[in-house]
Symmetry: none
Subunit: 239 residues, 2 copies
DNA sequence: GACACTTCGTTACAATTTGGTACCAGTGCG
DNA sequence: CGCACTGGTACCAAATTGTAACGAAGTGTC
């Protein structure tokens, strides 16, 4: 996995910079440091940056206005570091477009967790957007046409899916690999809450499998997790 | 749209639970209640949860350690309810990953405001968050994928675990190194109380070991404590 | 160390739970 | 009305889990 996530730490305290840098590098991130707004800008000019960790209190241009400037031109997630737990400051930061904040002194693990959360939130919708724009998804050797609710094999022949089947497939595609309980599936497909003896999801899965699995007895696309639910096990590619 | 925001209220006081439930349902949220950690866990297993409201003081497992456990394996926003305005407790809670806290007795409107704030920050609803879900734990040389209910070796080949096996492993992962008695394990995995001659946990451990231990005779992951129970002895890293 | 006693690991098997799907009935739509 | 779709039911198959049993291993006493 080259192209490691690139994080820039902006803080005028050497010790904090180094602490964060060391910890994140250890976790496989690519880390750059900057001690002021101008050095940050130099980095942004030349490199692709995935996330900025920004001390809110800095000499010269402070973090808040720096944040505003970044937001004005780029769309890079920002996590604030702040020494103040004051609610007003947090709110100002968040309203300026910071994605999260962390009060010093912080637990490195919490920093890591928040970095992950922010990156996930930043990337997930983008992927979804791409999916809906392109209107097709490749899954296993099928090409799913989201607009026409049908799937095409290699030969280009389309098999129409019923609305329920298609909804189900879409739920899986949006959560590749995740194990989803029947309850969740029912909620996600039709917004209904299940009673215990509800087998409609089983039925839908069975019907869907009959259409898309080579061998329904030995499914290669929708996997059953005994006592748990179902999951999509085929490779999903957003084209 | 269907899929209303799903909030779980965890409190052992019926009145507070019902107050919050009633208020939030009125506001269009989907609300579940739990009166203890184990019932919360059961909900988390089967349903998609967007936010947890957690009383910090509860009999049995208290909110703080419960929070730590949730944070270890899930990434769901948490709001603490606390009777104490003590700063230390608040800080402990926040450092453990709680997103906000509320001091009892509280104004329902304030609760609502905080819920909105927390959810705004966790911009992607739970359904979308799942999209790029990569919650994994490294344990020994295994990579445990929490979302997919499976473990992968170095070669990336996944070994499926049964739900009971997975639940057991998860209980251990959430309490690395802790020695857990059979009784505790039974309670934590299936919420059952053990009678003396219950050997089901031994069996589960045996079956799990057969899957994940190099050499089941000389276990390097799940250790037996004679007369005490079992513990996870391998290194656990949350990625 | 020999012994009795307890706890643990594992196997085999039975009981139970859960999943798959054929079939039927109700629904909505043209 | 005919048609396709969907959910419910029933039945069977498959997987999992608990129990019992037995031998192995640990613990304490003499």
């Amino acid at each position: 996995m080259q192209n490691a996530t690139h994080v820039v730490v902006v803080d005028d305290h050497t010790d904090i910079r180094d602490l964060v840098r060391q910890y994140l590098e250890q976790q496989g991130y690519k880390v750059s440091v900057a001690e002021s707004g101008s050095s940050l800008r130099r980095i942004l000019e030349r490199q692709t940056v995935d996330l900025i960790i920004l001390d809110i209190m800095m000499p010269g241009e402070d973090g808040i206005s720096l944040c505003r400037r970044i937001r004005a031109s780029e769309d890079i997630p920002i996590i604030f570091l702040t020494a103040m737990a004051e609610e007003t400051d947090r709110i100002v930061g968040l309203e300026l477009g910071a994605d999260d904040y962390l009060v010093k002194p912080f637990n490195p693990r919490e920093l890591l967790a928040r970095i992950r959360a922010v990156l996930r939130r930043a990337t997930a919708p983008a992927a979804l957007r791409a999916m809906h724009e392109r209107r097709t998804v490749r899954i296993g050797h099928w090409r799913v046409n989201l607009g026409r609710q049908e799937i095409c094999g290699e030969d280009g022949v389309g098999i129409p899916l019923s609305t329920a089947e298609f909804r189900l497939l879409k739920v899986f595609i949006e959560r590749p690999g995740l194990v989803l309980s029947r309850e969740q599936l029912l909620d996600l497909t039709v917004g209904r809450t299940a009673d215990i003896f509800d087998r409609s999801i089983d039925n839908q899965v069975s019907r869907l499998r009959k259409k898309i699995e080579e061998n329904p007895k030995n499914p290669s696309i929708i996997k059953t997790h005994w006592g748990g639910g179902y999951s999509l096990c085929a490779e999903v590619a957003f084209e």
